[in-house]
Amino acid sequence: MVTVTHAFIDAKTGQVEYKQVEKDITSEPLTTLAKPKLTKLLELLKDKGIISEEEKNGI
């Protein structure tokens, strides 16, 4: 768990309230962030001959 700031904006009044909230970051999906880097890593491994094109595409 980490403590983060959450901004709450009321569209009607325009008021903004900042609250400190606890956030469970362990439940966040990693794939969305990791995928671009993983793609680059796989391309690097293929370029260096460590894995084949089929292995790169199959992972």
């Binding site: 980490v2 403590t3 983060v4 700031t5 959450h6 901004a7 709450f8 904006i9 009321d10 569209a11 009607k12 009044t13 325009g14 903004v16 900042y18 909230v21 956030k23 970051i25 966040e28 999906p29 969305t32 962030l33 995928k35 671009p36 880097k37 793609t39 680059k40 391309e43």
Partner: protein
């Protein structure tokens, strides 16, 4: 012929989606965040808009990615398809039964950030979302659905982990009935 900026914007959006007739675009809210925040929720949005467009401009901390949820729904009720260009590398993905919609994957470090989020809602079909998001070297187009016909009265933009939108991030919400 004179065109006001308001008329011009309506015409441009009408060209993008001519099937949705409606009124002029209205400014729902415009806020500049004064404290760096991991998440931003905009609430008290009136019902009755056929379209809502959200503009986000600012900066975010390193390698963070942003997600969208609507009406506080944290269930696996979102489906989406995105394509991205990351520093010249193109890829994409499609997933269903997700707990949010990705705005941008943000793998290009900290710095400039912007997104346009376009929500289309109709009582007869699930809400549709189209998003253009990006940073300096990462650009993403997302199209998705939220499995509900309930009008959006609030939405939340969240960055992963403890990353933050900068304190000068501007969030503009517009709508058209």
């Amino acid at each position: 012929m004179y065109l006001s900026s308001k008329t011009l914007k309506s015409d441009i959006m009408g060209l993008v989606n001519p099937g949705l007739a409606g009124g002029d675009w209205e400014l729902i809210s415009e806020t500049v965040v004064s404290v760096a925040a991991n998440a931003v929720t905009v609430s008290s949005i009136s019902t009755g808009y056929k379209e809502i467009v959200i503009y986000v401009t600012g900066e975010r901390s390193a390698d963070s990615y942003a997600n969208l949820r609507m009406n506080g729904d944290t269930g696996n009720n979102y489906a989406w398809n995105y394509n991205y260009d990351y520093d010249g590398n193109y890829s994409g993905d499609r997933l269903s039964a997700q707990s949010s919609i990705p705005i941008e994957q943000g793998a290009d470090g900290n710095g400039a950030y912007c997104a346009i989020i376009w929500i289309m809602q109709d009582a007869t079909i699930n809400n549709r979302v189209k998003i253009l998001g990006g940073g300096t070297t990462f650009h993403q187009y997302t199209t998705g659905t939220h499995a509900t016909t309930t009008n959006v009265t609030s939405f939340t933009l969240t960055l992963n982990a403890a990353h933050t939108f900068s304190q000068n991030t501007r969030i503009i919400v517009t709508g058209r009935a």
